[in-house]
Subunit: 222 residues, 2 copies
DNA sequence: GCAAAAGTGTTCCAGATACACCCATGT
DNA sequence: ACATGGGTGTATCTGGAACACTTTTGC
């Protein structure tokens, strides 16, 4: 294993699949490309890995640059490196996924006049590069993790109702869940606390508000 | 997102954590480094990603070059990219793990006079680079996959006994399993077939031999 | 009073666990 | 005959799934 020449090195980037729940749908954050290749198409936020930057930091920075959001759950997903994935030349992308609670969405569209926005996962158009594949893998991973971790809590704001939490599960798994079984299950996790507050939300009984006991922590269960 | 200069690009490598079961222990394949850095220390097999090579192919090639073994189970694990992980300069390694059945072990140590060998996972010395960490992550992933996939069958040769299969589980999970419950469970997977043969193996009752129904396939269960 | 979402328990089933003895062979 | 690993069944426990009615509010 000898040192390879710089001339043959691939470019290394990170991309982030940012999920949130909004308008009762699972959505993700896309950026419109301002230059070729794929100029004008929507793509995942991302960027080149800086000289002295850890991969996680690079992904976090890509996310912050496009959204202004920091401190959200971020996890490495998979590394994509098909030789033809970038028409400009050899490129490797370390893909991440992130979960942001609906409250933190303070998109700073104005900042660099980039067009960015939230798109429903189930009405996604073709994206730049291999980004559709990244989205697919991220969604799969997220759905799998619901079953054996407390990752869904990363979507929740400080105070939330159990119905809202159930919606998160239902939208990610794409199936309706039983209300009683669901409540039993999430309360048994011992990771959310009832508060004294309720939320009045329409012409029906107010909903009790809950809070996450250890925000930022994701536990493996079962 | 503009094209970054070649001068700042990291080197990209793959490394492979190759597991097998041998001498009743979970072992992995290591190569002794012939040059600095970490000259003389043991390291995971690996190499630079070639100009027109897919990441999977690169890992497979690294494995073949060191062992002569091909066609084994290989899966991407995680990408390691701490800025200081290689003292020579910025480097990113896409780590894989591989499972080889004990029969396929035809190490061609002679081929390029590299020192290579199998080492018990639980008596591992400090390795070069961040390779101990890679091993740790690979072992964790492997143990987790036992619970929800048929991945353990990738360790088995064409014909094997249920006791041998049980040993695979026990060595990976590091715990003893109940013989009757184990057999019930693996037979219920409907992925292994009884053969008409038995193996005479010592001064005791011969063991029935089984074969994997779909070798090469790993199914997700539960 | 009625529409609409919030809240609440019990029964049933399947899969996991715990557990002990006989079998076939080599020496 | 005895030592050694191979092979087998049942009772129990536990977590998941199915399922319907009452409560509180706004209008």
């Amino acid at each position: 294993m000898t040192r390879n020449p710089r001339s043959s090195r691939p470019a290394v980037t990170t991309n982030v699949v940012v999920f949130t729940l909004r308008d009762d749908k699972l959505k993700l954050l896309l950026v419109r490309r301002r230059s070729d290749p794929y100029k004008g198409m929507w793509a995942l936020p991302g960027g080149y890995v800086e000289a002295d930057e850890d991969l996680d930091d690079s992904a976090m920075r890509a996310l912050e640059d496009s959204t202004g959001v920091a401190g959200v759950y971020l996890e490495q997903l998979y590394t994509f490196g098909a030789p033809d994935r970038d028409p400009r030349g050899r490129s490797i992308s370390v893909a991440y996924y992130a979960l942001v609670p609906s409250e933190k969405l303070q998109l700073r569209t104005a900042s660099d006049s980039e067009a960015i926005g939230w798109f429903a996962l189930d009405e996604l158009e073709p994206l730049a590069f291999d980004h559709n594949e990244m989205v697919h893998v991220a969604h799969q991973r997220l759905a799998a993790k619901l079953a054996y971790s407390t990752i869904a809590l990363q979507f929740m704001p400080q105070k939330f109702t159990l119905s809202e939490l159930q919606k998160v599960y239902e939208r990610i798994l794409n199936e309706k869940l039983d209300k009683r079984n669901f409540r039993k299950r999430v309360l048994a996790l011992d990771q959310i606390d009832q508060t004294q507050e309720v939320r009045r939300n329409g012409s029906h009984r107010p909903a009790r508000l809950y809070s996450v006991r250890n925000p930022g922590e994701v536990q493996i269960i079962r």
